[in-house]
Amino acid sequence: MTQPLLDVCNVSKAFGGVIANRNISLKVNRGQIVGLIGPNGSGKTTLFNSIVGYHPIDDGEIWFKGEEISRYRVGRIARLGLLRTFQQTRIYGRMTCMENMLISLPERESSFLDLLKSRHSAGIQRAKDLLEFVGLYSKRYHYAGDLSFGQQKLLEFAMALINEPEMLLLDEPTAGINPTLINGLIDRLKRANEELGITLLVIEHNMRVIMNLAEHIYCLAHGEMLAEGSPEEIRNDQRVIDAYLGAH
Protein backbone atom coordinates (compact mmCIF):
# COMPACT_ATOMS: atom_id res chain seq x y z
CA MET A 1 0.00 0.00 0.00
CA THR A 2 1.29 3.44 -0.82
CA GLN A 3 2.00 6.00 1.83
CA PRO A 4 -1.00 8.17 2.75
CA LEU A 5 -0.81 11.87 1.87
CA LEU A 6 -1.94 12.86 5.35
CA ASP A 7 -1.32 10.55 8.26
CA VAL A 8 -2.57 11.53 11.71
CA CYS A 9 -1.34 9.11 14.36
CA ASN A 10 -2.75 9.01 17.87
CA VAL A 11 -3.07 12.77 18.24
CA SER A 12 -4.26 14.15 21.57
CA LYS A 13 -4.99 17.73 22.50
CA ALA A 14 -6.38 19.12 25.73
CA PHE A 15 -7.30 22.66 26.70
CA GLY A 16 -6.81 22.76 30.44
CA GLY A 17 -9.01 19.98 31.75
CA VAL A 18 -11.04 19.65 28.57
CA ILE A 19 -9.80 16.88 26.36
CA ALA A 20 -10.70 17.98 22.85
CA ASN A 21 -8.97 15.18 20.99
CA ARG A 22 -7.95 11.82 22.46
CA ASN A 23 -5.84 9.38 20.46
CA ILE A 24 -7.20 10.38 17.09
CA SER A 25 -5.83 8.61 14.03
CA LEU A 26 -6.90 9.11 10.46
CA LYS A 27 -5.39 8.64 7.03
CA VAL A 28 -6.14 10.39 3.78
CA ASN A 29 -4.72 9.04 0.53
CA ARG A 30 -3.77 11.23 -2.39
CA GLY A 31 -6.74 12.05 -4.59
CA GLN A 32 -9.38 11.06 -2.05
CA ILE A 33 -12.29 13.03 -0.67
CA VAL A 34 -12.63 12.17 2.99
CA GLY A 35 -15.34 13.38 5.33
CA LEU A 36 -15.12 14.22 9.02
CA ILE A 37 -18.39 14.35 10.92
CA GLY A 38 -19.46 14.50 14.52
CA PRO A 39 -21.80 16.42 16.84
CA ASN A 40 -20.98 19.98 17.87
CA GLY A 41 -18.08 20.08 20.28
CA SER A 42 -16.78 16.68 19.25
CA GLY A 43 -13.36 18.08 18.39
CA LYS A 44 -13.43 18.33 14.60
CA THR A 45 -12.17 21.86 14.33
CA THR A 46 -9.60 21.23 17.05
CA LEU A 47 -8.26 18.38 14.94
CA PHE A 48 -8.08 20.70 11.90
CA ASN A 49 -6.24 23.28 13.97
CA SER A 50 -3.81 20.64 15.17
CA ILE A 51 -3.12 19.43 11.64
CA VAL A 52 -2.38 22.87 10.21
CA GLY A 53 -0.17 23.85 13.15
CA TYR A 54 -2.47 26.42 14.69
CA HIS A 55 -1.67 25.08 18.14
CA PRO A 56 0.83 22.51 19.37
CA ILE A 57 -0.44 19.00 19.97
CA ASP A 58 0.07 17.24 23.29
CA ASP A 59 0.76 13.81 21.95
CA GLY A 60 0.97 11.88 18.70
CA GLU A 61 2.38 12.60 15.26
CA ILE A 62 1.12 14.20 12.08
CA TRP A 63 2.72 13.35 8.75
CA PHE A 64 2.16 15.05 5.41
CA LYS A 65 3.79 13.83 2.19
CA GLY A 66 6.08 11.61 4.26
CA GLU A 67 7.31 14.55 6.36
CA GLU A 68 6.50 14.95 10.01
CA ILE A 69 4.75 18.29 10.46
CA SER A 70 3.69 17.95 14.11
CA ARG A 71 5.97 20.79 15.23
CA TYR A 72 5.67 23.06 12.20
CA ARG A 73 4.01 26.47 12.33
CA VAL A 74 0.97 27.48 10.30
CA GLY A 75 2.75 29.32 7.49
CA ARG A 76 5.26 26.59 6.85
CA ILE A 77 2.60 23.88 6.65
CA ALA A 78 0.59 26.02 4.24
CA ARG A 79 3.64 26.43 2.03
CA LEU A 80 4.04 22.65 1.97
CA GLY A 81 0.69 22.55 0.21
CA LEU A 82 -1.67 21.75 3.07
CA LEU A 83 -4.28 24.47 3.29
CA ARG A 84 -7.41 25.01 5.34
CA THR A 85 -10.51 27.15 5.11
CA PHE A 86 -12.24 28.51 8.17
CA GLN A 87 -15.61 27.75 9.67
CA GLN A 88 -16.12 31.45 10.28
CA THR A 89 -15.23 32.59 6.80
CA ARG A 90 -12.05 34.57 6.54
CA ILE A 91 -11.37 36.80 3.60
CA TYR A 92 -9.63 40.16 3.25
CA GLY A 93 -12.66 42.42 3.65
CA ARG A 94 -11.30 45.76 2.52
CA MET A 95 -9.70 44.37 -0.60
CA THR A 96 -11.52 43.57 -3.83
CA CYS A 97 -12.21 39.99 -4.84
CA MET A 98 -9.49 40.19 -7.47
CA GLU A 99 -7.00 41.45 -4.90
CA ASN A 100 -8.03 38.65 -2.56
CA MET A 101 -7.30 36.19 -5.32
CA LEU A 102 -4.02 37.72 -6.46
CA ILE A 103 -2.48 37.75 -3.01
CA SER A 104 -3.51 34.12 -2.54
CA LEU A 105 -1.24 32.95 -5.35
CA PRO A 106 1.16 30.35 -3.98
CA GLU A 107 4.05 31.70 -1.93
CA ARG A 108 5.77 28.34 -2.01
CA GLU A 109 8.66 29.02 -4.35
CA SER A 110 8.72 32.75 -3.98
CA SER A 111 11.20 34.90 -2.11
CA PHE A 112 10.78 38.40 -0.76
CA LEU A 113 11.96 39.87 -4.05
CA ASP A 114 9.02 38.27 -5.84
CA LEU A 115 6.75 40.34 -3.63
CA LEU A 116 8.25 43.47 -5.15
CA LYS A 117 6.77 42.67 -8.55
CA SER A 118 3.69 44.50 -9.70
CA ARG A 119 0.50 43.20 -8.16
CA HIS A 120 -0.73 42.65 -11.71
CA SER A 121 2.35 40.69 -12.75
CA ALA A 122 0.87 37.24 -12.50
CA GLY A 123 -2.24 35.21 -12.12
CA ILE A 124 -4.82 37.67 -13.49
CA GLN A 125 -6.31 35.17 -15.90
CA ARG A 126 -6.18 32.35 -13.38
CA ALA A 127 -7.89 34.53 -10.79
CA LYS A 128 -10.65 35.41 -13.24
CA ASP A 129 -11.10 31.79 -14.28
CA LEU A 130 -11.46 30.65 -10.69
CA LEU A 131 -13.85 33.48 -9.82
CA GLU A 132 -15.86 32.36 -12.82
CA PHE A 133 -15.61 28.79 -11.52
CA VAL A 134 -17.25 29.74 -8.21
CA GLY A 135 -19.68 32.15 -9.87
CA LEU A 136 -18.23 35.40 -8.57
CA TYR A 137 -16.83 36.78 -11.80
CA SER A 138 -19.29 39.65 -11.98
CA LYS A 139 -18.37 40.66 -8.42
CA ARG A 140 -14.63 40.71 -9.04
CA TYR A 141 -14.17 44.42 -8.32
CA HIS A 142 -16.42 44.47 -5.28
CA TYR A 143 -14.91 44.69 -1.84
CA ALA A 144 -14.87 41.19 -0.42
CA GLY A 145 -16.34 42.51 2.83
CA ASP A 146 -19.46 43.63 0.94
CA LEU A 147 -20.25 40.12 -0.28
CA SER A 148 -22.89 37.99 1.40
CA PHE A 149 -21.74 35.27 3.78
CA GLY A 150 -22.31 32.55 1.19
CA GLN A 151 -20.41 34.46 -1.45
CA GLN A 152 -17.55 34.99 0.96
CA LYS A 153 -17.39 31.23 1.47
CA LEU A 154 -17.18 30.75 -2.27
CA LEU A 155 -14.49 33.41 -2.50
CA GLU A 156 -12.53 31.70 0.26
CA PHE A 157 -12.80 28.45 -1.66
CA ALA A 158 -11.54 30.13 -4.84
CA MET A 159 -8.66 31.68 -2.88
CA ALA A 160 -7.72 28.24 -1.65
CA LEU A 161 -7.81 26.84 -5.18
CA ILE A 162 -5.57 29.54 -6.67
CA ASN A 163 -3.03 28.66 -4.01
CA GLU A 164 -2.70 25.25 -5.70
CA PRO A 165 -2.62 23.18 -2.54
CA GLU A 166 -2.10 19.44 -2.70
CA MET A 167 -4.58 19.02 0.05
CA LEU A 168 -7.39 21.20 1.30
CA LEU A 169 -9.10 20.99 4.68
CA LEU A 170 -12.58 22.48 4.43
CA ASP A 171 -14.36 23.42 7.64
CA GLU A 172 -18.09 23.27 6.97
CA PRO A 173 -18.02 24.54 3.40
CA THR A 174 -21.81 24.55 3.03
CA ALA A 175 -22.80 26.18 6.33
CA GLY A 176 -24.76 29.32 5.63
CA ILE A 177 -25.08 28.65 1.93
CA ASN A 178 -28.55 28.39 0.43
CA PRO A 179 -29.75 24.97 -0.78
CA THR A 180 -29.49 25.68 -4.50
CA LEU A 181 -25.95 26.96 -4.15
CA ILE A 182 -25.05 23.88 -2.10
CA ASN A 183 -25.59 21.59 -5.07
CA GLY A 184 -23.33 23.79 -7.16
CA LEU A 185 -20.74 23.73 -4.41
CA ILE A 186 -20.73 19.92 -4.16
CA ASP A 187 -20.20 19.80 -7.88
CA ARG A 188 -17.33 22.27 -7.66
CA LEU A 189 -15.67 20.40 -4.81
CA LYS A 190 -15.79 17.23 -6.88
CA ARG A 191 -14.41 19.00 -9.91
CA ALA A 192 -11.60 20.55 -7.86
CA ASN A 193 -10.78 17.03 -6.73
CA GLU A 194 -10.97 15.43 -10.16
CA GLU A 195 -9.67 18.17 -12.44
CA LEU A 196 -7.18 19.91 -10.17
CA GLY A 197 -6.18 16.79 -8.30
CA ILE A 198 -6.71 18.35 -4.87
CA THR A 199 -7.17 15.91 -2.03
CA LEU A 200 -9.99 16.99 0.28
CA LEU A 201 -10.73 16.50 3.94
CA VAL A 202 -14.13 17.98 4.70
CA ILE A 203 -15.89 18.74 7.99
CA GLU A 204 -19.60 18.81 7.31
CA HIS A 205 -22.83 18.73 9.24
CA ASN A 206 -25.06 18.36 6.24
CA MET A 207 -25.43 14.58 5.91
CA ARG A 208 -26.77 14.73 2.38
CA VAL A 209 -23.71 16.70 1.30
CA ILE A 210 -21.14 14.52 2.98
CA MET A 211 -22.72 11.26 1.86
CA ASN A 212 -22.70 12.55 -1.72
CA LEU A 213 -19.21 13.85 -1.58
CA ALA A 214 -16.96 11.65 0.49
CA GLU A 215 -15.75 8.18 -0.32
CA HIS A 216 -14.62 7.56 3.23
CA ILE A 217 -15.94 9.10 6.43
CA TYR A 218 -14.60 9.44 9.95
CA CYS A 219 -16.95 10.21 12.81
CA LEU A 220 -15.81 11.92 16.00
CA ALA A 221 -17.72 12.10 19.28
CA HIS A 222 -16.54 13.52 22.59
CA GLY A 223 -13.05 13.97 21.22
CA GLU A 224 -12.64 10.33 20.29
CA MET A 225 -12.83 8.50 17.01
CA LEU A 226 -16.19 6.80 17.06
CA ALA A 227 -16.35 5.12 13.71
CA GLU A 228 -14.98 5.13 10.21
CA GLY A 229 -16.03 3.59 6.94
CA SER A 230 -17.76 4.17 3.65
CA PRO A 231 -20.80 6.47 3.62
CA GLU A 232 -22.99 3.36 3.56
CA GLU A 233 -21.34 1.88 6.64
CA ILE A 234 -21.46 5.16 8.52
CA ARG A 235 -25.10 5.69 7.68
CA ASN A 236 -25.99 2.34 9.20
CA ASP A 237 -23.66 2.48 12.17
CA GLN A 238 -25.76 2.46 15.34
CA ARG A 239 -23.13 4.35 17.37
CA VAL A 240 -23.11 7.17 14.82
CA ILE A 241 -26.87 7.36 14.83
CA ASP A 242 -26.87 7.47 18.62
CA ALA A 243 -24.21 10.16 18.73
CA TYR A 244 -26.06 12.38 16.31
CA LEU A 245 -29.43 11.84 17.89
CA GLY A 246 -27.95 12.54 21.29
CA ALA A 247 -28.87 9.19 22.82
CA HIS A 248 -26.33 9.35 25.57
Binding site: I91, I103, L115, H120, N163
Partner: protein
Protein backbone atom coordinates in the same frame (compact mmCIF):
# COMPACT_ATOMS: atom_id res chain seq x y z
CA UNK B 1 -12.35 63.26 -14.78
CA UNK B 2 -10.02 60.36 -15.22
CA UNK B 3 -8.53 59.37 -11.89
CA UNK B 4 -5.08 58.68 -13.21
CA UNK B 5 -5.02 62.12 -14.78
CA UNK B 6 -6.23 63.69 -11.53
CA UNK B 7 -3.42 61.93 -9.70
CA UNK B 8 -0.80 63.15 -12.14
CA UNK B 9 -2.11 66.70 -11.94
CA UNK B 10 -2.10 66.62 -8.13
CA UNK B 11 1.46 65.33 -8.05
CA UNK B 12 2.64 67.90 -10.60
CA UNK B 13 0.94 70.71 -8.71
CA UNK B 14 2.57 69.64 -5.44
CA UNK B 15 5.90 69.31 -7.20
CA UNK B 16 5.68 72.79 -8.67
CA UNK B 17 4.63 74.28 -5.33
CA UNK B 18 7.48 72.45 -3.67
CA UNK B 19 10.12 73.60 -6.12
CA UNK B 20 8.88 77.17 -6.29
CA UNK B 21 8.40 77.30 -2.52
CA UNK B 22 11.22 79.76 -1.81
CA UNK B 23 9.60 82.26 -4.18
CA UNK B 24 6.00 81.55 -3.21
CA UNK B 25 6.34 81.84 0.57
CA UNK B 26 9.81 83.21 1.33
CA UNK B 27 8.81 84.38 4.81
CA UNK B 28 7.57 80.96 5.93
CA UNK B 29 10.21 78.73 4.41
CA UNK B 30 11.21 76.98 7.63
CA UNK B 31 7.57 76.28 8.51
CA UNK B 32 7.12 74.72 5.11
CA UNK B 33 10.26 72.65 5.60
CA UNK B 34 8.64 71.24 8.69
CA UNK B 35 5.42 70.64 6.77
CA UNK B 36 7.27 68.48 4.23
CA UNK B 37 8.85 66.57 7.10
CA UNK B 38 5.48 66.13 8.78
CA UNK B 39 4.17 64.64 5.55
CA UNK B 40 7.01 62.11 5.76
CA UNK B 41 6.07 61.41 9.39
CA UNK B 42 2.44 60.77 8.47
CA UNK B 43 3.30 58.69 5.40
CA UNK B 44 5.73 56.47 7.28
CA UNK B 45 3.36 56.04 10.20
CA UNK B 46 0.60 55.01 7.82
CA UNK B 47 2.79 52.36 6.20
CA UNK B 48 2.54 50.21 9.32
CA UNK B 49 -0.44 51.81 11.05
CA UNK B 50 -2.77 52.17 8.08
CA UNK B 51 -1.68 49.80 5.36
CA UNK B 52 -0.62 46.97 7.67
CA UNK B 53 -3.10 47.69 10.46
CA UNK B 54 -0.51 47.83 13.22
CA UNK B 55 -0.94 50.97 15.29
CA UNK B 56 2.42 52.03 16.61
CA UNK B 57 2.73 54.67 19.29
CA UNK B 58 6.49 54.35 19.26
CA UNK B 59 7.50 55.50 15.78
CA UNK B 60 8.87 58.71 17.24
CA UNK B 61 11.74 56.57 18.54
CA UNK B 62 13.08 56.15 15.00
CA UNK B 63 12.69 59.87 14.43
CA UNK B 64 14.85 60.52 17.48
CA UNK B 65 17.39 57.84 16.68
CA UNK B 66 17.80 59.26 13.18
CA UNK B 67 18.22 62.73 14.64
CA UNK B 68 20.95 61.72 17.07
CA UNK B 69 22.69 59.35 14.67
CA UNK B 70 22.87 62.02 11.99
CA UNK B 71 24.16 64.67 14.39
CA UNK B 72 26.72 62.35 15.94
CA UNK B 73 27.96 61.36 12.48
CA UNK B 74 28.15 64.97 11.32
CA UNK B 75 30.29 65.85 14.32
CA UNK B 76 32.15 62.56 14.63
CA UNK B 77 33.62 62.77 11.15
CA UNK B 78 35.77 65.70 12.27
CA UNK B 79 35.82 65.99 16.06
CA UNK B 80 35.58 63.71 19.07
CA UNK B 81 31.88 63.61 19.87
CA UNK B 82 32.30 63.45 23.65
CA UNK B 83 34.41 66.60 23.71
CA UNK B 84 31.94 68.34 21.41
CA UNK B 85 28.91 67.54 23.54
CA UNK B 86 30.82 68.32 26.75
CA UNK B 87 31.47 71.79 25.38
CA UNK B 88 27.76 72.06 24.61
CA UNK B 89 28.68 72.49 20.96
CA UNK B 90 29.75 76.02 21.59
CA UNK B 91 33.11 77.67 21.57
CA UNK B 92 35.37 78.44 18.70
CA UNK B 93 37.17 75.13 18.45
CA UNK B 94 34.38 73.16 16.75
CA UNK B 95 34.14 74.91 13.41
CA UNK B 96 32.83 73.23 10.28
CA UNK B 97 33.88 74.56 6.90
CA UNK B 98 31.64 74.30 3.86
CA UNK B 99 33.01 70.99 2.64
CA UNK B 100 32.86 69.47 6.10
CA UNK B 101 29.31 70.64 6.63
CA UNK B 102 28.05 69.23 3.34
CA UNK B 103 29.97 65.99 3.75
CA UNK B 104 28.63 65.65 7.27
CA UNK B 105 25.06 65.97 6.02
CA UNK B 106 25.61 63.68 3.04
CA UNK B 107 26.94 60.95 5.31
CA UNK B 108 24.97 61.76 8.44
CA UNK B 109 21.45 61.70 7.02
CA UNK B 110 21.76 58.23 5.45
CA UNK B 111 23.43 56.98 8.63
CA UNK B 112 20.45 58.36 10.57
CA UNK B 113 18.09 56.45 8.29
CA UNK B 114 20.08 53.25 8.53
CA UNK B 115 20.45 53.36 12.30
CA UNK B 116 16.70 53.92 12.67
CA UNK B 117 16.01 51.07 10.26
CA UNK B 118 18.30 48.73 12.19
CA UNK B 119 16.57 49.67 15.42
CA UNK B 120 13.19 48.96 13.84
CA UNK B 121 14.35 45.60 12.52
CA UNK B 122 15.69 44.59 15.94
CA UNK B 123 12.66 45.85 17.86
CA UNK B 124 10.30 44.45 15.25
CA UNK B 125 11.68 40.96 15.55
CA UNK B 126 10.94 41.11 19.26
CA UNK B 127 7.55 42.82 19.42
CA UNK B 128 6.01 42.39 15.97
CA UNK B 129 5.22 38.81 16.85
CA UNK B 130 2.51 40.32 19.05
CA UNK B 131 -0.88 40.94 17.56
CA UNK B 132 -3.00 44.07 17.32
CA UNK B 133 -3.53 45.88 20.58
CA UNK B 134 -0.70 44.13 22.37
CA UNK B 135 1.73 45.55 19.88
CA UNK B 136 0.26 49.04 20.29
CA UNK B 137 0.64 48.85 24.05
CA UNK B 138 4.20 47.57 23.79
CA UNK B 139 5.16 50.51 21.58
CA UNK B 140 3.71 52.99 24.05
CA UNK B 141 6.65 52.42 26.34
CA UNK B 142 9.28 52.80 23.65
CA UNK B 143 9.31 56.58 23.32
CA UNK B 144 9.37 57.10 27.07
CA UNK B 145 12.20 54.63 27.53
CA UNK B 146 14.18 56.04 24.60
CA UNK B 147 13.88 59.61 25.85
CA UNK B 148 15.09 58.64 29.30
CA UNK B 149 17.98 56.63 27.88
CA UNK B 150 19.09 59.53 25.70
CA UNK B 151 18.79 61.93 28.64
CA UNK B 152 21.15 59.76 30.63
CA UNK B 153 23.82 59.20 28.01
CA UNK B 154 26.76 61.62 28.44
CA UNK B 155 28.28 60.84 25.04
CA UNK B 156 25.38 62.52 23.25
CA UNK B 157 25.01 65.32 25.77
CA UNK B 158 22.61 63.60 28.17
CA UNK B 159 19.87 65.82 29.56
CA UNK B 160 21.39 69.03 28.26
CA UNK B 161 21.00 67.84 24.70
CA UNK B 162 23.16 68.27 21.67
CA UNK B 163 23.75 71.17 19.32
CA UNK B 164 23.90 70.24 15.65
CA UNK B 165 26.97 71.47 13.76
CA UNK B 166 26.83 75.18 13.16
CA UNK B 167 26.91 75.77 9.41
CA UNK B 168 29.35 78.24 7.88
CA UNK B 169 27.81 81.65 7.23
CA UNK B 170 28.07 81.22 3.49
CA UNK B 171 25.46 78.49 3.38
CA UNK B 172 21.81 79.49 3.23
CA UNK B 173 20.61 76.70 5.51
CA UNK B 174 16.95 77.70 5.39
CA UNK B 175 16.95 77.08 1.67
CA UNK B 176 19.12 73.97 1.97
CA UNK B 177 16.91 72.30 4.56
CA UNK B 178 13.79 73.35 2.72
CA UNK B 179 14.90 71.51 -0.39
CA UNK B 180 16.20 68.54 1.58
CA UNK B 181 12.82 68.22 3.33
CA UNK B 182 10.94 68.60 0.08
CA UNK B 183 13.14 66.03 -1.65
CA UNK B 184 12.69 63.56 1.20
CA UNK B 185 8.90 63.97 1.09
CA UNK B 186 8.90 63.49 -2.69
CA UNK B 187 11.11 60.40 -2.55
CA UNK B 188 9.12 58.88 0.32
CA UNK B 189 5.84 59.48 -1.48
CA UNK B 190 7.17 58.02 -4.72
CA UNK B 191 8.66 55.02 -3.00
CA UNK B 192 5.45 54.24 -1.12
CA UNK B 193 3.31 54.74 -4.25
CA UNK B 194 5.48 52.13 -5.94
CA UNK B 195 5.52 49.83 -2.92
CA UNK B 196 1.71 49.87 -2.69
CA UNK B 197 1.48 48.86 -6.34
CA UNK B 198 3.46 45.69 -5.76
CA UNK B 199 2.42 42.33 -4.39
CA UNK B 200 4.05 43.40 -1.14
CA UNK B 201 1.40 46.12 -0.89
CA UNK B 202 -1.29 43.47 -1.18
CA UNK B 203 0.51 41.27 1.34
CA UNK B 204 0.53 43.94 4.04
CA UNK B 205 -3.11 44.84 3.30
CA UNK B 206 -3.88 41.17 3.81
CA UNK B 207 -2.26 41.35 7.25
CA UNK B 208 -4.41 44.39 8.03
CA UNK B 209 -7.62 42.63 6.99
CA UNK B 210 -7.01 39.21 8.51
CA UNK B 211 -3.60 38.19 9.72
CA UNK B 212 -4.61 34.66 10.70
CA UNK B 213 -5.90 34.10 7.21
CA UNK B 214 -2.74 35.49 5.63
CA UNK B 215 -0.66 33.16 7.74
CA UNK B 216 -2.91 30.21 6.94
CA UNK B 217 -2.40 30.99 3.24
CA UNK B 218 1.34 30.62 3.66
CA UNK B 219 2.41 34.25 3.96
CA UNK B 220 5.54 35.14 5.94
CA UNK B 221 3.50 37.58 7.99
CA UNK B 222 6.04 38.40 10.68
CA UNK B 223 8.81 38.89 8.13
CA UNK B 224 6.58 41.21 6.12
CA UNK B 225 5.68 43.23 9.19
CA UNK B 226 9.30 43.63 10.23
CA UNK B 227 10.30 44.73 6.72
CA UNK B 228 7.43 47.21 6.68
CA UNK B 229 8.48 48.79 9.96
CA UNK B 230 12.11 48.86 8.83
CA UNK B 231 11.24 50.74 5.65
CA UNK B 232 9.08 53.11 7.66
CA UNK B 233 11.90 53.74 10.15
CA UNK B 234 14.46 54.39 7.41
CA UNK B 235 12.60 57.38 5.98
CA UNK B 236 11.59 58.49 9.45
CA UNK B 237 15.24 58.43 10.55
CA UNK B 238 16.29 60.66 7.68
CA UNK B 239 13.43 63.01 8.51
CA UNK B 240 14.71 63.10 12.08
CA UNK B 241 18.21 63.95 10.85
CA UNK B 242 16.91 66.90 8.86
CA UNK B 243 14.61 68.00 11.67
CA UNK B 244 17.49 68.04 14.15
CA UNK B 245 19.54 70.29 11.90
CA UNK B 246 16.52 72.46 11.27
CA UNK B 247 15.97 72.86 15.01
CA UNK B 248 19.73 73.38 15.56
CA UNK B 249 19.40 71.88 19.02
CA UNK B 250 18.42 68.35 20.00
CA UNK B 251 16.76 68.05 23.37
CA UNK B 252 16.33 64.37 24.23
CA UNK B 253 12.75 64.71 25.43
CA UNK B 254 11.35 67.87 23.86
CA UNK B 255 12.77 67.43 20.36
CA UNK B 256 14.05 63.94 19.68
CA UNK B 257 11.76 61.58 21.56
CA UNK B 258 8.74 63.81 21.97
CA UNK B 259 6.13 61.10 22.15
CA UNK B 260 3.44 63.38 23.58
CA UNK B 261 3.62 65.80 20.66
CA UNK B 262 5.33 64.59 17.50
CA UNK B 263 4.64 60.97 18.36
CA UNK B 264 0.92 61.62 18.65
CA UNK B 265 0.76 64.12 15.81
CA UNK B 266 2.06 61.68 13.24
CA UNK B 267 -0.79 59.32 14.11
CA UNK B 268 -3.38 62.08 14.04
CA UNK B 269 -2.22 63.36 10.69
CA UNK B 270 -2.57 59.92 9.15
CA UNK B 271 -5.99 59.38 10.71
CA UNK B 272 -7.23 62.84 9.79
CA UNK B 273 -6.26 62.35 6.16
CA UNK B 274 -7.37 58.74 5.93
CA UNK B 275 -5.59 55.65 7.20
CA UNK B 276 -4.47 53.15 4.64
CA UNK B 277 -4.56 55.49 1.68
CA UNK B 278 -1.65 56.98 -0.23
CA UNK B 279 -2.95 60.54 -0.29
CA UNK B 280 -4.54 60.53 3.14
CA UNK B 281 -1.37 61.18 5.15
CA UNK B 282 -0.31 63.93 2.76
CA UNK B 283 -3.64 65.73 3.02
CA UNK B 284 -3.90 65.03 6.74
CA UNK B 285 -0.43 66.41 7.43
CA UNK B 286 -1.13 69.58 5.45
CA UNK B 287 -4.49 70.25 7.11
CA UNK B 288 -3.20 69.41 10.57
CA UNK B 289 -0.01 71.39 10.30
CA UNK B 290 -1.66 74.51 8.96
CA UNK B 291 -4.38 74.30 11.62
CA UNK B 292 -1.81 73.80 14.31
CA UNK B 293 0.23 76.80 13.18
CA UNK B 294 -2.90 78.93 13.10
CA UNK B 295 -3.80 77.86 16.64
CA UNK B 296 -0.28 78.68 17.84
CA UNK B 297 -0.49 82.08 16.17
CA UNK B 298 -4.03 83.20 16.91
CA UNK B 299 -5.08 81.24 19.98
CA UNK B 300 -1.89 81.53 21.97
CA UNK B 301 -2.52 80.39 25.51
CA UNK B 302 -5.39 78.23 24.36
CA UNK B 303 -3.58 76.54 21.51
CA UNK B 304 -3.33 73.17 23.23
CA UNK B 305 -6.98 73.24 24.22
CA UNK B 306 -7.95 74.00 20.64
CA UNK B 307 -5.67 71.24 19.39
CA UNK B 308 -7.17 68.81 21.88
CA UNK B 309 -10.67 69.73 20.72
CA UNK B 310 -9.56 69.25 17.12
CA UNK B 311 -8.27 65.77 17.95
CA UNK B 312 -11.61 64.83 19.49
CA UNK B 313 -13.47 66.19 16.47
CA UNK B 314 -11.21 64.23 14.11
CA UNK B 315 -11.79 60.96 15.91
CA UNK B 316 -15.54 61.45 16.37
CA UNK B 317 -16.54 62.89 13.02
CA UNK B 318 -13.83 61.66 10.67
CA UNK B 319 -12.94 58.19 11.88
CA UNK B 320 -12.27 57.27 8.25
CA UNK B 321 -10.33 60.46 7.62
CA UNK B 322 -10.79 62.96 4.84
CA UNK B 323 -9.95 60.56 2.03
CA UNK B 324 -11.94 57.76 3.64
CA UNK B 325 -14.92 60.08 3.95
CA UNK B 326 -14.62 61.12 0.33
CA UNK B 327 -14.49 57.49 -0.74
CA UNK B 328 -17.64 56.74 1.21
CA UNK B 329 -19.43 59.85 0.02
CA UNK B 330 -18.51 59.56 -3.65
CA UNK B 331 -17.41 55.98 -4.24
CA UNK B 332 -17.65 56.38 -8.00
CA UNK B 333 -15.07 59.16 -7.89
CA UNK B 334 -12.79 58.07 -5.06
CA UNK B 335 -13.56 54.36 -4.64
CA UNK B 336 -11.65 51.54 -6.30
CA UNK B 337 -11.35 52.71 -9.86
CA UNK B 338 -12.64 50.38 -12.49
CA UNK B 339 -10.54 51.85 -15.27
CA UNK B 340 -7.32 51.14 -13.45
CA UNK B 341 -8.40 47.59 -12.78
CA UNK B 342 -9.54 47.02 -16.33
CA UNK B 343 -6.31 48.51 -17.63
CA UNK B 344 -4.36 46.14 -15.44
CA UNK B 345 -6.54 43.30 -16.65
CA UNK B 346 -5.78 44.11 -20.25
CA UNK B 347 -2.09 44.06 -19.41
CA UNK B 348 -2.10 40.78 -17.53
CA UNK B 349 -5.01 39.06 -19.23
CA UNK B 350 -4.63 36.45 -21.90
Amino acid sequence: MNRRLANVIAILALGVIGILGPWLFPAHLSQFSKLWLFIVLALTWDLLGGQTGYNSFGNVVFFGIGMYAAAVTQVGLYYPVAAYTAAKGGGTEFVFDVAQFYTGLAVGLPVGGIMAALAAAALGMVILGMRGHYFAIATLGLAIAAGELAAGWEYIGAGSGMVTPTPPDTIDTTLLFYYLSFALAAVTFGFLAWLYSTRFGLAINAIRDDEDKAEAMGHHTTRNKVITWTISAFFLGIAGGIFGNLSKFIDPIDVAFNGAEVGVWMILMAILGGKGTLWGPVIGAAVFYVTKELFWTYLLGWQRVALGALIVIIVVFFPQGIVGWLKERWPERFGPSKEEMEAADAKGGA
